[in-house]
């Protein structure tokens, strides 16, 4: 969606959401910065309704709010002393990734004067390198998806043979072409993000931001004062300290390798591990995945976990379950061996660890200003993303809530509304959909069967496990698995899971339905789009199983299932 993001950005740039109240208050308070940040905006019918607006604003003030907020509109009236203090900026954001850019842009559109600082661009992050766009654009979603696209062709060539396409020789892949084209695209995107900030009137400062006091940020020795400080510095891959861990690469490096791995060990069972396993497998590396648990993707629906592991194995990925890494040894010939609790596997050109990510909270000066952190080093925030220091806020991966780009965007958008539009807004974490770009990919929204059983007790589970039309022709062992979890009492669809081609695209629309609280009947009353895979979700007539906390004495459930099964 890099491009989509740009398009979305562009569209909101052409029609900036400049609400009159914030504009007017700003006009009164910050006459100097006003022309700078808003000179590009189109309509400014300001002074006419000034009085009435101010009145209505104060009456709309959030009453439920326990924390004192420095809303620009109220500041002057109520906190004269504080408000009269001059700040360089209304908002200073540390970190220009998804959450930081969103919060900064929206805040600027709401009329605030905003600065954001970010480390210099590099494909690999460190204490001193980052880049505008952040993890998503430079070291996450975007480059990952580009490599997924590249690697998926191998499967498509295999499929195409079944459809009559003939290749004189097996298609070969040139790693350098891919890396060069990928990096050109990343450069383009980081430029677009800079433009977005620039067009929104946000001041971009390159350098490392450090908090000095509740209203001051130090960027490489230069001090900036701000009414509010936003921490959106994200997270970084974490590699456990075991012997030989110096030979290990993380996902940052894996996205920008100088050459294609011949044989790679990927340690970890999370989504990052699976996505890279699919990428390297598609690009014809010999891929071994080592996971500590019995199954991949802890936290996902159990059936999905089994299904994706099986499908990945069928595509040639070797899964080593219940194997914990103990050491990496470099041989004389330069190859690497991975020693685990079960033995040693030799001959790897690369060993990649996808063993979790940690918030980037070191050396930010947080301890000195008293910003509280969790044991994992994540910043503790309230429902409005406010830290223990009232003028300091945090969004995105650095808070370790749900570490997804769209969630950071939601948090950033909500924060801008809370601070600069007089609309205290809590991000809503219900029914957040997500995807794993493994091959085949996974899409899910709502609860897993296990969560639903725990939370609701009585649920009906509908599943479909089928060979898609494409696979009947290609002859490949690809299958699709789908699952709907329905509350037996209310008939609401609690969760939807899918593994198979196009899952991420398919699940988005259903996420709207589930977020809206729709029932199984609503799904059933929708006519299918034929022939698609997605239509299966609206044609699941018979529950695969009914889970009851207290099974009825009579075997009525079984009977129901059988009676319906023939339909």
């Amino acid at each position: 969606m890099a491009a989509a993001a740009a398009a979305a950005a562009a569209s909101s740039l052409t029609t900036p959401k400049l609400t009159f109240p914030s504009l007017q208050s700003l006009y009164r308070k910050l006459p100097l910065s006003f022309p700078l940040s808003l000179s590009s905006s189109s309509s400014l019918p300001l002074p006419k309704t000034l009085t009435t607006t101010t009145t209505s604003l104060s009456s709309r003030r959030p009453l439920s709010h326990h924390r004192r907020r420095h809303l620009t509109t109220r500041a002057e009236a109520e906190n004269g002393a504080e408000a009269s203090r001059h700040y360089d900026f209304d908002l200073f954001t540390i970190g220009a990734g998804s959450g930081g850019v969103r919060a900064s842009r929206f805040a600027a559109n709401f009329g605030a004067s905003v600065a954001v600082c970010e480390l210099p661009f590099s494909t690999v992050s460190s204490e001193t390198t980052g880049g505008v766009g952040g993890t998503c654009v430079l070291r996450g979603c975007v480059p990952k998806k580009l490599l997924v696209y590249a690697s998926k062709y191998a499967h498509e060539f295999d499929e195409s043979r079944g459809f009559g396409w003939k290749y004189d020789s097996d298609p070969l892949h040139d790693w350098d072409t891919l890396m060069a084209n990928k990096n050109a695209e990343l450069q383009r995107l980081t430029g677009i993000y800079k433009n977005i900030l620039n067009n929104a009137g946000v001041t971009l400062i390159e350098g490392r931001g450090k908090i000095v006091d509740p209203h001051t940020v130090d960027v490489d020795g230069k001090l900036y004062s701000a009414r509010h400080i936003l921490i959106s510095v994200g997270g970084r891959p974490f590699i456990p300290d075991i012997p030989g861990s110096g030979y290990v690469i993380d996902s940052d490096a894996a996205l920008d390798l100088p050459s294609k791995p011949k044989k790679i060990a990927i340690v970890g069972g999370g989504y990052i591990a699976l996505e890279f396993a699919g990428i390297f497998n598609g690009l014809k590396s010999d891929v071994h995945v080592f996971i500590r648990q019995k199954k991949v993707l802890r936290g996902f629906d159990e059936e999905i976990r089994d299904f994706v592991a099986e499908q990945m194995s069928l595509r040639g990925i070797e899964l080593h379950t219940e194997e914990s890494p103990q050491a990496i040894i470099k041989s004389a010939d330069g190859s690497l061996s991975l020693k685990t609790n079960k033995g040693t596997v030799e001959g790897f050109s690369h060993v990649m660890f996808a063993t979790g990510r940690r918030p980037n909270t070191k050396n930010l000066g947080l301890e000195s200003v008293g910003v509280k952190m969790t044991k994992n080093g994540a910043i503790e925030v309230d429902e409005y993303s406010c830290t223990s220091v009232p003028s300091i806020w945090a969004v995105g991966d650095v808070t370790d809530r749900i570490n997804l780009t769209p969630v950071a965007l939601m948090e950033g958008g909500a924060l801008a509304k809370t601070l600069f539009q007089n609309e205290p807004t809590k991000p809503d974490y219900r029914a957040v959909p997500s995807a794993v770009f493994s091959q085949p990919p996974i899409g899910q929204v709502g609860l897993t069967e296990e969560q639903a059983t725990k939370e609701y007790g009585d649920i009906d589970v509908f599943t479909a496990n089928f060979r898609p039309l494409k696979a009947t022709l290609s002859g490949l062992p690809d299958r699709v698995f789908m699952k709907l979890i329905v509350c037996a009492k209310t008939n609401k669809v609690l969760g939807l899971n899918m593994c198979g081609e196009d899952s991420p695209e398919i699940v988005q629309g259903f996420a709207v339905a589930i977020k809206a609280g729709l029932t199984k009947e609503d799904f059933d009353s929708t006519v299918g789009i034929h022939p698609t895979a997605a239509e299966e979700f609206v044609t699941m007539r018979t529950p695969t199983r009914k889970i009851r906390e207290h099974p009825p004495a009579e075997g009525k459930t079984d009977h129901d299932v059988k009676a319906a099964a023939g339909v």
């Binding site: 580009l146 290749y167 892949h173 769209p406 259903f510 996420a511 022939p531």
Partner: protein, 494 residues
Amino acid sequence: MLIDGEVNHTNQVEEEAHFDFDLFVIGAGSGGVRAARFSANYGAKVGICELPFHPISSEVIGGVGGTCVIRGCVPKKILVYGANFGGEIEDAKNYGWELNEKVDYNWKKLLQKKTDEIIRLNGIYKRLLSNAGVKLYEGEGKIVGPNEVEVTQLDGTKLSYSAKHILIATGSRAQRLAIPGQELAITSDEALSLEDLPKRAVVFGGGYIAVEFASIWRGMGATVDLFFRKELPLRGFDDEMRDVVARNLEGRGINLHPRTNLTELTKTEKGIKIYTDHKEELLADVVLFATGRAPNTKRLNLEAVGVELDNAGAVKVDEYSRTNIPTIWAVGDVTNRMNLTPVALMEGTCFAKTVFAGQPTKPDYNHIPCAVFSIPPFSVVGLSEEQALEQANGDVLVFTSSFNPMKNTISGRQEKTVMKLVVDAETDKVLGASMCGPDAPEIMQGIAVALKCGATKQQFDSTVGIHPSAAEEFVTMRSVTRRVTASGKPKANT
């Protein structure tokens, strides 16, 4: 009364004994099979007849599974999958894949596998019927009386059965245009079973079948010329989106000839010569007429019992799919309501519920999603902008997003994906959604659930995106593109 009562109710046993079947279905396509199976599951005794199997239909050829399975959705989608690889192979190069300049294509292999697959599905449908306890007869069905059908078998012998209810589900067939040389042209039936892949293909028609076949042949490397009468293809769809589809077809290398009629076809040594009303001449290996389909009602002997037809020859039915003869019903394309497989399924299901489950059920034609499997595909649910303006009381908000899909950033393909939401300004309800771009049909299904249940724009906005996907654009359209009043004049941006 529509309610037929419960089949196993004692006082009805006597009455039912007069008939060989509770239901006799003529035509075992999507609608007929669904109605037959569901009726049998509700306890009815069901017979069904269908013509012998062959990929190309005629008055005496058909096959269990019907148009969808044998001559429509399924074989078409298989060819679209095949053709889609053409674009993928082009796209792969900038992703680092080294391929020969010309990748070969074995059409016969695909055709054989397609035929194998529809034969397999034909078998599956037969098993579905027998597992449901439905008795299948091979032969041509005719209506003899309000409760009497006759099946002419392959060997000419005739079977006669009485039935409490008769269901007509004989579907429709592709029509040729009556111009000189029309016999040189083919219809979609033959197009799905061509011996050789055409090098030069001409397609006449602006409907979904025309654009799908144009895409199929183009994807496999043929030169394709698409002729249609209107300014844009896909009449009836959202005008803005029709334009997008046209541009994308052109982008994929199809030559469009809008506002053009074919006037004559002649056979020459170099191929079929095509004459147009613009005085153009063109040579082609294959000329496809995708100029509409007509209901299969001619040989059913409907006049004998007085079943009413409309001007197009479609069986006229009420909201419960009942004809003017109370014991005779009709579902699917033969009624020419909304000619889609899932709609025929819905009608078949509603029929079975109405007649054999004591639950009078009307099919609901609101918010029926559909897809055009052009390359790239196009999919919609709900109203077009034009329809919304016609039906809305107040203003309509239009949200559009036109973007370069991420995959194209590296492949270099110049093709925009376009999405559109049409929203009622007063109620905030999303009235229509449409998309042209890769995966559109798969993406639209979930959106259809939301629209069917009256989702608001606010509910779309409150849904978090799946990143990075194309579909997430549907939940991140923050700024209205234009506000339109019923008078048709767009207002300035709001």
